[in-house]
């Protein structure tokens, strides 16, 4: 049976980031890993293609702590997960990630549909899908907002800056979806319990046909700092201040700044 591979990223949730006011560095201690929100739409798109075409649906991920991602991902409709969890991948860049994902897709075998989502919530680089397509030598259809499948034939709509482009293409292909392709349902209790019974397969770097050296980043991270022109972040209604008082103080601040 042919397979759909949905790539997902196991990202740190950005809601619990704290910024150190003095050093502008980020404190990520309270941040938890989660399936990248955009990829949840990608997983749901995979579920729909599976339903319409009878393919098997596998999830693919790599990076730090991805072994612990399997249960969450499997609760979102996947038949199985393949993960590459290796400390050597901690600082992998976009070149390496796409090469390793392409290698994993080949290792899984029989994949003729790859789904990525538009971006990850942490980097928002919007590169992985098109990069994988180029490496596999498959057609790339990005910013897809509608995906219809009939056997091996795909009819898609993609939303571009100047309008909609309707595309017709046969598998194999890489689809990079935009979130509006369809909202992802929140997994129910049955989905979460069912996930425990599904296979989560560990792959090693060697399985990708690449060496750890070949996945070393081509760029170095110099710093990750909150912007210097950081916002004032002044709460107008701390304890004891009513909304009316807060609103009056806000309007006064904006008037004094010449904005209102």
């Amino acid at each position: 049976m042919k397979k759909i591979a949905v790539c997902y990223k196991w990202v740190l949730s950005d809601t619990d980031i704290r910024v150190d006011e003095k050093t502008r560095s980020l404190n990520m201690e309270k941040c938890k890993y989660q399936v990248n929100e955009y990829d949840r739409n990608g997983l749901e798109c995979g579920v729909q293609i599976k339903k319409a075409s009878g393919r098997e649906l596998v999830g693919i991920t790599l990076g730090k702590d991805t072994a612990s991602s399997a249960k969450d991902a499997l609760s979102r409709g996947l038949d199985s997960v393949f993960y590459l969890d290796d400390a050597a991948l901690a600082d992998i860049d976009k070149i390496g990630a796409a090469k390793a994902l392409a290698g994993m897709i080949k290792k899984v075998g029989d994949v003729d549909v790859v789904i990525c989502s538009e971006a990850s919530s942490d980097d928002f680089a919007q590169q992985t899908g098109p990069r994988i397509a180029a490496l596999l030598g498959w057609p790339s259809v990005s910013y897809a907002t509608k995906v219809e499948v009939n056997g091996d034939s795909f009819t898609l709509e993609r939303k571009l800056d100047d309008g909609i482009e309707c595309v017709s293409v046969a598998a194999p292909l890489v689809i990079t979806i935009s979130p509006e392709v369809g909202e992802a349902p929140i997994p129910g209790v049955k989905d979460i319990l069912g996930a425990k019974k599904k296979p989560a397969n560990a792959l090693a770097i060697g399985d990708t046909g690449l060496s750890a050296d070949a996945l070393k980043p081509a760029s170095a991270i110099v710093s990750v700092l909150a912007p210097e022109t950081s916002r004032k972040r002044q709460r107008m209604n701390p304890d004891g201040v009513s909304l009316d008082q807060a609103a009056a103080a806000l309007v006064k601040e904006l008037s004094q700044a010449g904005i209102l």
Partner: protein, 309 residues
């Protein structure tokens, strides 16, 4: 003298990319690749490109399928940088070309700098909470840049350079139809003040409250992506974010907006940001100058009252 390539969705973007290229190396030789006909490519020459190629939109093919041709040409010509417009087609083409060249690609970058052969730039991460500065000495570096990232280069009609059309090899994907975007009568980019509506609004009729706030402070109303794309409560031209409108207003008031990366990017250059959200911990508050923790139902009437003095 470095060779720098620019790949632009349109001639106006080419003018911006010419400025970016010259900021990296004032003496660089620029080769421009512009979507459109040879007249569009010629425009890039007037902005300062030494030569230019037209990349016409194929009638039945994806424009991004120029990527393999560009990558092959780059292997021969060895440009030091390929600066690409951060339009949707541009981003796809940049990523594919980067993969074919095994090159780093920095998306929507800022603070481009060159010291010797070491290139560095900043990219926004975690919803604009931080800027990641990266450096690389890779032989070819690809960067995508926003339409307003640099002051556009001025046209000089006396400049001349070779103009040709780049050959196109069709890929397997076929374009069967193109539906142009219907322009709405909203002009968010020109508005000095903007109120943004987010998922804190659970019904379409509630947007009336945001309009009331906007009227009280003389603002236009925009929204986050789900409001336009999922719920279709507002026209697409109203959604603010990395793939929608990128604004530079004097004042942005985010109401019921959590502050995800793709939204915050669209207002990061606002002079003052105000956030109203009941979730004290939301990212939008962290990216705001002033914030009120509360529901829009409570906060909007209070601000309207205060604004009317």
């Amino acid at each position: 003298m470095r060779d720098i390539w620019i790949v632009a969705e349109n001639p106006a973007w080419a003018a911006t990319l010419v400025s970016a290229a010259k900021s990296l190396d004032a003496d660089c030789a620029i080769t421009a690749f512009v979507k459109g006909d040879e007249a569009a490519a010629k425009d890039a020459v007037t902005y300062g490109a030494a030569s230019a190629f037209a990349l016409p939109l194929p009638a039945a093919g994806l424009w991004e399928d120029y990527a393999p041709t560009l990558a092959e040409k780059a292997k021969t010509d060895k440009p030091a940088f390929i600066l690409v417009s951060a339009s949707r087609r541009g981003r796809d083409l940049a990523a594919r070309t980067a993969a074919l060249l095994e090159a780093p690609c920095f998306s929507d970058a800022a603070q481009l700098a060159l010291s010797g052969n070491a290139f560095s730039c900043g990219t926004s991460v975690f919803g604009g909470t931080a800027v990641r500065t990266s450096s690389t000495s890779a032989p070819v570096v690809i960067v995508t840049l926003g339409a307003k990232s640099y002051e556009p280069a001025a046209a000089d009609a006396s400049r001349s350079g070779a103009v040709a059309t780049l050959p196109y090899s069709a890929g397997a994907a076929k374009v069967t139809e193109r539906k142009p975007r219907v322009k709405q009568s909203v002009n968010l980019p020109e508005a000095a003040k903007v109120v943004g509506v987010g998922r804190g609004f659970s019904e379409e009729k509630d947007i009336a409250a945001a309009r009331e706030l906007a009227a009280a402070i003389g603002a236009e109303v925009g929204c986050s992506r789900p409001i336009a794309e999922f719920f279709k409560w507002m026209p697409e031209e109203c959604y603010i974010g990395i793939s929608g409108q990128i604004l530079k207003p004097q004042l942005y008031v985010a109401v019921g907006i959590s502050g995800q990366a793709q939204h915050t990017f669209g207002v990061r250059d606002a002079k003052v940001i105000v956030s109203i959200n009941k979730d004290e911990e939301c990212l939008m508050h962290q990216n705001a100058d002033y914030y009120i923790v509360g529901t829009w139902q409570d906060a909007i009437p209070a601000i309207v009252k205060a604004a009317k003095g």
